[in-house]
Every structure is written in structure tokens, then in C-alpha cells.
């Protein structure tokens, strides 16, 4: 049996789609290989070991990082924050130029600010004879520093979550994309972005898709504090970024036009969002409650333009909720276009018009039905996903 390492900067948070993907891929491989999850734990001083279902989990001590530090670093040296909601072509090319010119010290700092820096992990990767080492996400130090330490005899696979972000052009990532035998993408757009990165990447990209299922119980039981009025729902881990300003800004623009419509923000960390009268906030820390809200929504609003998977959007589609998504690069926009699963916007005016479209009940119902059909066809077959993932990662 193959011995496989899955290297992650974080593990186990069901609200983080990168961590969920890591678990899905590790789970698929566990059918054919012995899977060891190598995780950097910023909260520990010494190396520990645990089991999690079919996986052995090695926890390596790591230096701490934070979202704020990352934003500060990039804000200081490259001139903008990641997670911005709109960007014109001129700003994007300017950002790519600045990113390519970052001094080496800053590149190192920036890589470590994404978490995953652990000398113990690097030592482990250099000496353990794994048949295959899979790195999740191209950005954290566990990947950037770890990929260089894997012995040449081991197969290396990268699941990069590339979404066309200017930051992907940081020179620190060049070796990260050059070394792997396989680059795994989860969506068609991800494949296109990876293939166009350089002539050498094109032949190594394999698309494996994603798998997601939702329980019917959420549809049959009401969430707490549910009101009669129709609502758009935004579901995410609010402690992981600064997206609320965008949600508030857009919601404030439409509140007088569509008086009967509410915007509801749910997810962990929602309690820390600012109090205001525009967006209703519900702290929801378990997935079932989130699904209850999502399953009854007029539409699922995804304001984040650069998601690699759009797990929340997939769940909403499985419940038959149409999508209202930012037209930027990202998985949700791909689902809308491929599955006729909703509508996109790229400006305030288009956002307003998109809502007008969704408030037309026959149109909304048809979009919801199409979204559900598309999600069931594309995301609800674990066998197919397992087969694609094991073939792509362990060998054709």
C-alpha cells in the first residue's frame, strides 16, 4: 500500500473550504493508501500525534500567523489588501507588477504570514520515505518551504486553489508550481488558470471536481428567529476576513428599493460584526443551522469573487436556492454560467437589477430547479470523485 502525506497549514474547520477540500481528498485517497495528515498546529510547542477517522494526524509546532498580519504585510509592501471585492484590469496588472518585484525578505514574510511555518515539519518531510506527498494550497509556508524538502524519489502533488489572484505571481510560488508531478484543480476555471500559468504546467493539470452533500433535515426544520420576509443569505466564517464592508455597502444601496427584502449574514464570528440596521446578523456556529437558513433563502449571495470551490454555493444549489454571485473569477460564477443556476453582477446597478430578476418568482423558481439539478449531477457522486482523485494523484 502507498504511504501518502497530506501537508496542510490547518485542519478540521468545516467552514474553511480549503480545509474541507483537504479532508475530501485525504478521504478519497484513504481507500487506496495509508494517509498521514501533516498539519502545522500554531497552538502547540511540541510534536503530537492523533487519529481522525481513517487518518493519522501528525501535529507539528508552528509559529503563529494571522489574517491581520497578512493584510498588513501586503497592504504595506504591495499596496492593497487581498480579499478586495472589485478590481479593474489596470489595477490588476499593476498589482501583478508590484507582486513580481517584492524583495525576497518580504516574500518570505508574506509566505509565513499565510501560516504553516514549522522547521519540525520540514525535517519530517526531508527524512520520511513517503511514496507521495500532497501539498494543500500553494500559499502557506508549509507548502512553499516544504515542497523543496521532499526527496526527489517521492511523487509530489499540489492542490493549489489558484483563482487568478495577482498574488499568485509572487516569485516565491514559482518553484511551488514547477516541482509537482501533478497539479490538481477542482473546477474548469481552476484548470484554465493553472494551464495558462506556464507552458510546463499545462500537461500536469488534472481536474478532479468536488463532492458535497446536504441533509434534508435542515429543510424540514426552521432556524431560530426566522421571519416571513424573503431574504438573501450570506454564509461564511466572518472571523476569517473583512468581507462584511462589501456586504454592507451593497445591501445599504438596495434597502430602499426592495423594502420587503432582507439581507441575512450567518456564520461563526457574526456576533463580532458591527451593529447596524441594514444587514441582519445571526451567529451560527453549526452547519445544520446554516443549512436551515440557506435552504429557505430567496437566493444565496456570494459576494466573494475569488473562491476556489464555493462550498456554500454548492450547498445552496443542492437545496434549490439560486445563486447571486460576483462576476469576478471564481467557482461560483462558473456554476452560475454552467448550470444556469443564478445571476451575476459586477456593479451596484447590476446588483440591483439582478435582485429585480430574482424577485420574479417564476424566474427564481426555474433558476433554483436548474441549480439543484446541476449540483446533483456534478457534486453528489462520491464514488466518481474518489476515482478521479486517486487516479489523478496516485497515477494515471
Amino acid at each position: 500500500m502507498n504511504r501518502v502525506a497530506v501537508v496542510v497549514a490547518a485542519w478540521g474547520n468545516p467552514w474553511d473550504e480549503r480545509q474541507v477540500t483537504a479532508r475530501r481528498i485525504a478521504g478519497a485517497l484513504a481507500n487506496k493508501a495509508r494517509v498521514e495528515v501533516c498539519r502545522v498546529d500554531e497552538g502547540t510547542d511540541s510534536r503530537t500525534f492523533a487519529t481522525d477517522g481513517p487518518f493519522e494526524v501528525h501535529n507539528f509546532p508552528g509559529s503563529s500567523s494571522s489574517v491581520k498580519r497578512r493584510e498588513w504585510l501586503f497592504g504595506s509592501f504591495a499596496g492593497a489588501l487581498d480579499g478586495f471585492d472589485e478590481i479593474c484590469a489596470c489595477a490588476e496588472s499593476e498589482m501583478v507588477r508590484r507582486v513580481k518585484d517584492l524583495p525576497q525578505t518580504i516574500q518570505n514574510e508574506f509566505t509565513r504570514a499565510h501560516g504553516g511555518h514549522s522547521p519540525d515539519l520540514l525535517e519530517h518531510l526531508a527524512h520520511e520515505p513517503y511514496d507521495c506527498v500532497i501539498f494543500m494550497d500553494h500559499r502557506p509556508a508549509s507548502t512553499v518551504e516544504g515542497i523543496a524538502r521532499v526527496p526527489p524519489s517521492s511523487r509530489v502533488v499540489l492542490v493549489p486553489f489558484a483563482v487568478g489572484d495577482p498574488l499568485e505571481w509572487c516569485p516565491a510560488y514559482d518553484p511551488v508550481f514547477d516541482r509537482p508531478d501533478r497539479l490538481i484543480s477542482l473546477t474548469s476555471e481552476g484548470s484554465t488558470i493553472l494551464s495558462s500559468r506556464s507552458p510546463s504546467t499545462a500537461g500536469r493539470v488534472r481536474e478532479v471536481g468536488f463532492v458535497q452533500q446536504v441533509p434534508d433535515l435542515a429543510r424540514r426544520t426552521d432556524p431560530l428567529r426566522l421571519e416571513e420576509r424573503p431574504y438573501l443569505v450570506v454564509s461564511k466564517d466572518w472571523s476569517a476576513g473583512n468581507l462584511f464592508a462589501t456586504v454592507y455597502s451593497l445591501a445599504a444601496r438596495i434597502q430602499w428599493d426592495f423594502a420587503g427584502l432582507e439581507v441575512v449574514a450567518i456564520g461563526p464570528g457574526a456576533d463580532s460584526l458591527p451593529e447596524q440596521d441594514v444587514v441582519k446578523i445571526h451567529e451560527v456556529d453549526n452547519q445544520m443551522d446554516a443549512w436551515r437558513w440557506v435552504s429557505r433563502a430567496l437566493a444565496y449571495w456570494d459576494p466573494e469573487p475569488r473562491l476556489a470551490i464555493g462550498k456554500g454555493a454548492i450547498e445552496a444549489m443542492l437545496y434549490g436556492a439560486p445563486l447571486l454571485a460576483h462576476a469576478g473569477k471564481g467557482a461560483t460564477a462558473e456554476y452560475v454560467m454552467e448550470g444556469d443556476a443564478g445571476v451575476l453582477y459586477s456593479s451596484h446597478s447590476e446588483f440591483r437589477e439582478a435582485i429585480r430578476v430574482l424577485l420574479d418568482e417564476p424566474t427564481r423558481s426555474a433558476l433554483g430547479r436548474q441549480a439543484q439539478r446541476y449540483a446533483l449531477e456534478r457534486f453528489s457522486d462520491p464514488q466518481s470523485f474518489t476515482s478521479r482523485a486517486t487516479t489523478a494523484i496516485l497515477g494515471d
Binding site: 492593497a80 479593474c88 444601496r253 462576476a327 451575476l344 451596484h348 437589477e353 439582478a354 433558476l367
Partner: protein, 151 residues
Amino acid sequence: MERPEVSSRELIDQIRRKARSDAEFFESLQPIKRALESPELSYLTRHYKLKVDEVPPGAGGPVRRLKARVKRWFRDTTLKVLENYLHEEREYLSHNTQFHVELATKLDVLGFEVRQMAPRLEELRQMTYDLELAHRLLEERLDRLEKTTPE
């Protein structure tokens, strides 16, 4: 492949067309704004048929003064609406990222971005329409007044 009941692509095209028509409307306001900013107000005079210059000499000083006041009111109000609109757009861009605004300003594309995003244009359109309507009603009353004003 089965044809969808509703096509997202067509809906998005429809949304963009509508949003673009707002942007085009804004574009059409630009000459008015420029004219309003000019001291002569010749554009306004020509387009809104104030006919201030056509009032015969001695045809009633009070009427001419009233017309001038209406003209000023119309100019000030319309300018205020436009300025509020532009201010809000800049605020949005500023929130968006300060960097983006700086870059956009440098590249002189701020105006382009403003038109692209064009929020609250429907409201602006309505306000401008209301203003124009109010202006026309006043103009009619003034015309009637002019006809009945003794020399």
C-alpha cells in the same frame, strides 16, 4: 444538451443592458453638467427653452428676474444631485480600496469607473425628471404670467 427553462447568460445580458442604459443616461447628463458649470449657461438656455434672451426689451422686469431665479434654482438643484451622486461613487471606490482609487485617478479612469458602476442612477434619473417637470410647470406659469403682465 437540454435547453434550460431560464438562461443565466440571457438574464445576465439583460441585467447588463439595463445597467448600461443607466450608464448611457449618465453619459447623456455630462453635457448638461458641463453647461451648468459654465457661467453663460447657454446650453441650458438652448435646451430648456428658457428664452431669457428672447424676452422682448421692456417686457416686464419682474418676470425676467423671476425667470433668472428659476434658472438658478434649477442649476443649483441639479448640480447638487450630480455632486451627491459623484461623491457617493467616490466613497464606494474609496472603500473598495484606497489603492484602486489612487491608481484610477492617476490613470484618469475614475470617470470611466463611475459610469461603469453607476449606482443610484435610477434615483438620479427620477430626480432629474422631477426637476425637469417642476421646471417646465414653472416655465408654463411664467409664460402665462408674461402674457398677462402689462408693459
